[in-house]
Amino acid sequence: MKVDWSAVAALFRNEMRHLLRDRRTIVVSIFLPLAVIPVMLFSSHWLEQRRKARLEQATFEISVEGSQAETVCSLLAEAERMQTARGEAFRFRETAVAVPLAALAEKRVALVLRGVTAAEALVAPTEGADRPERGAGRAGARARGEEREPIVEGVPVVEVLFRADRDDSQAAATTMRRLLREVRTERRHAVLVAAGFPRDPATVLPVTRENLATSGQVAGLTLGRLVTALLLLFMLSGGAVVAIDSLAGEKERGTLETLLTSGVGRQEIVLAKLLAIFSVALLIAVIQVANLLVYVGFELIPVPAGFAAAVPPQVAALLFLLYLPVTALVAGGLLLLSGYAKSYKEAQLNFFPVFLLGVLPALAPLLPGVSLRSAVVLVPIANAAVAVKEILVGVFDWPLLLVTLVVNSAAAALVARLSIRALSNERLISPAAAESEHVTGAVAFQRHVLRNFAIMWGVLLVAAANVTTNADVRLQIVINLGVIFLGGTLLMVRAYRLDPREVFALRPVRPVVWLAVLIGAPAGLLTGVGVFQLANHFVPVPPEMMEAFGEAMLPEGLPFWQVVIFLCVAPGIVEELTFRGALLHGLRKRFHPGVLALVVGLVFGVFHTSLFRIAPTAFIGIMLSAVTLLTGSIFPAMLWHALNNLVALGAARFGVPLEGLDAPPLVAAALILAAAYWILWRTRCVYPDLRPGRGRQ
């Protein structure tokens, strides 16, 4: 394709001129963040310093109570002596109050020291209106990862009662605990020495810790984990300003039609817009990073002690090179989003989920043990994020850095191509074409199906995080399959007034199809293992991903017939109704059949929320989608799915490690799978009403 670069330059200049003259956009997207962030940081820094200074100079009123109050007082006296000996000020003053806990609640004292016997300490405290939250001192301490010290019979206990909702009380409690522990250690050592311990107890069994990584590497790890996500946030927020105005805004203003009827080609239009978004996204990212560095320089943003991330110029250049295709990908994604929106408002509404999805892969370096030499190298953005982390700790894996560049560049090119197609999509650019549609229940379903599945996915995540984490596996399955999948799917069928027989493809099939399913299901499972083993030779696949094939979640103590019902039959029916039923039906006109199978498979994979199960389940999902498309019916996919799970479960139950199989059985499985699909192809009864080919349009 020949590109008219002079036209691209003219279009780019026009884009930038139009953007730079929009004062509101410039102020909101550039000047406001630049001005507001320093003011916010400066104010909070100043206030924090003041608070610290005030607390450091304050003398805290404390109250001592309990049957062992005298012991507490002697501890305090010893603490004061120790501090005085060190030249420090003892900043506690005992105050006599009638009801110490009421005084604490009324802010007359900062903390209450309660000396009690072990027996008293073991008695559960009574809760009263005036009683401070014991949780602040106990459960709260546990929440911060500190362990409650054991109570020993006959040994007095000192309880430090404070209010975590008050700065002074918290600061006083922290210092007091430290002092009391110092006194305890001192006393312990004195007892040991008095009993004839031969040397200073503090010198016994010294444990040393030595960090062999350089301070630059340590800082690089910290920086590398977050820098890509941070940059992506800047790029997305900066680029969105131009992108939304670029296509969605042009559609709304009516200038897009003016442009499309001019003598310039669509690829030039898209290239110019991409360049504009790319430039602004990059510029804003650079400005914001410089801004952050200034804050760090002025110590407005605290950095960890000894943080010494040094990025030499050649490393900085390499990072910049890695980020270029990522920026192009971000620009392409934003332009695509804008192209598919019919108005400015719609683009803004769609931006938020894209924003979240865009940042998600940049968090890959936070995954434990993830390295570039794994399947992550094939995931756009995530690969760059991991590569940057490795570079910052001094690891330069040149071949995979090259793969990272190629993958991200290819993804950016693909997205740009999709944007050009969006500009040729008549429903998106022409009011006449759009007006020809009458939105009925079925049409509305097709438009909303992905959005509805995204909502369903969100519900699944929330349920997984809150409800089913520690639940019985049967309850988990009932909630996931019965409530979320089946409930959500039936809700869609009802809300859009769809015909269940059509949506769920409830059609009979030829008898020979069952033969293909019987041989294809186990062969498909083994072929999946083989494919990932093969891929492992080129790009290391995480072992967790390989194990996910054999992973059958065999719950302990569950009779095998229940395992079959809950893990084979139920998923076979419900997941097929949801994914190869509703989802495939809703998307059938949006994608060509091959892409349709891929999309349905990928969505199926994403719904298996465990990261390493996504790829294997997506692989199975693609196979099941192909089965449904070739047979025009849901029933073969149901049987295939149930058999697939049964084989995986059986292998796990009888201790057959699928991931450890050799090449011959895997090759045989692939051949059997091919034979199964050949049978399905020869006897095909294609899914009805698929997206027409180009010839039909």
Binding site: A10, R17, R253, E426, P692
Partner: protein, 255 residues
């Protein structure tokens, strides 16, 4: 030599789940000569805009061909677009550019040589009386001035073919008359002009030949005199209704 615009069997079918195939334009044939205003007269939804959008390459024809200065609108879309200027009530201007910048931008992207662009913009500023407002941002201009900039933008690259899709929609009487005057002037310059409207008086006053389009099909196409002779009716409104009723009778439906 072939005509500047030749349309043969042009068809556009939209797919609609509720109505199935919608034949918005159904086998339309016509041509437009240089120095001629060819009118497409039809009610709203008759297929005028869809026809013109296919000629302007915004929409792809389902069947048939359209040639603009010999360039097929599907195979040589960019060449076809460079040979035409498209104006409609929905083709807007960039609000934050000045009138002069607008003209320079459209001249440049329509293939006018970079060195010639400023001079061409100056010519257009002078011709359309934009002198005092040439450096004013478009969003600060009055409706009449915006209309002038919009027409000047349409002819920024001096195309031999002009397509006006209901250009007077939303304009007051004076601005509508000014628009008609400018279009007549372009005819005198020898441009081939396709002009769509549903306003009978405009078609009567401006068009050399008129095609009556209804439900995506052209039911009559001739000079006003010949249409009068063929129908025995004097007023274009009566002629239009005559053909629409005839079409509905053939089709067995109601308008």
């Amino acid at each position: 030599m072939s005509q500047p615009v030749v349309v043969q069997g042009l068809t556009k079918i939209f797919f609609d789940d509720a109505r199935g195939e919608v034949r918005a334009v159904d086998g339309v044939d016509f041509f437009c000569r240089a120095g001629e205003i060819f009118g497409l007269l039809g009610a709203n939804g008759a297929g005028k805009t869809t026809t013109l959008r296919m000629i302007a390459t915004v929409l792809a024809p389902t069947a048939g061909t359209a040639l603009v200065m010999g360039h097929d609108v599907q195979r040589e879309a960019e060449a076809a677009r460079r040979a035409l200027g498209f104006y409609s009530a929905t083709t807007a201007l960039y609000p934050r550019l000045t009138a002069r910048e607008t003209l320079e931008f459209f001249a440049r992207i329509n293939g006018v040589a970079a060195a010639r662009v400023p001079a061409r913009a100056e010519e257009l500023v002078a011709r359309f009386g934009l002198g005092d407002y040439a450096d004013t941002r478009v969003d600060k201009l009055s409706t009449g001035m915006k209309q002038k900039v919009s027409i000047a933008r349409t002819v920024a690259h001096d195309p031999p073919v002009l397509v006006f899709d209901e250009p007077t929609v939303g304009l007051d009487v004076l601005n509508a008359l000014e628009m008609q005057r400018v279009i007549a002037e372009f005819r005198r310059e020898g441009k081939a002009i396709i002009f769509s409207t549903h306003i009978m008086s405009e078609a009567e006053r401006l068009c050399d030949r008129i095609a009556i389009i209804h439900r995506g099909r052209i039911h009559a196409c001739d000079t006003l005199e010949n249409l009068r002779a063929a129908t025995g009716k004097h007023y274009l409104e009566d002629i239009f209704i005559h053909y629409v009723e005839l079409a509905n009778g053939d089709g067995g439906g109601t308008p």
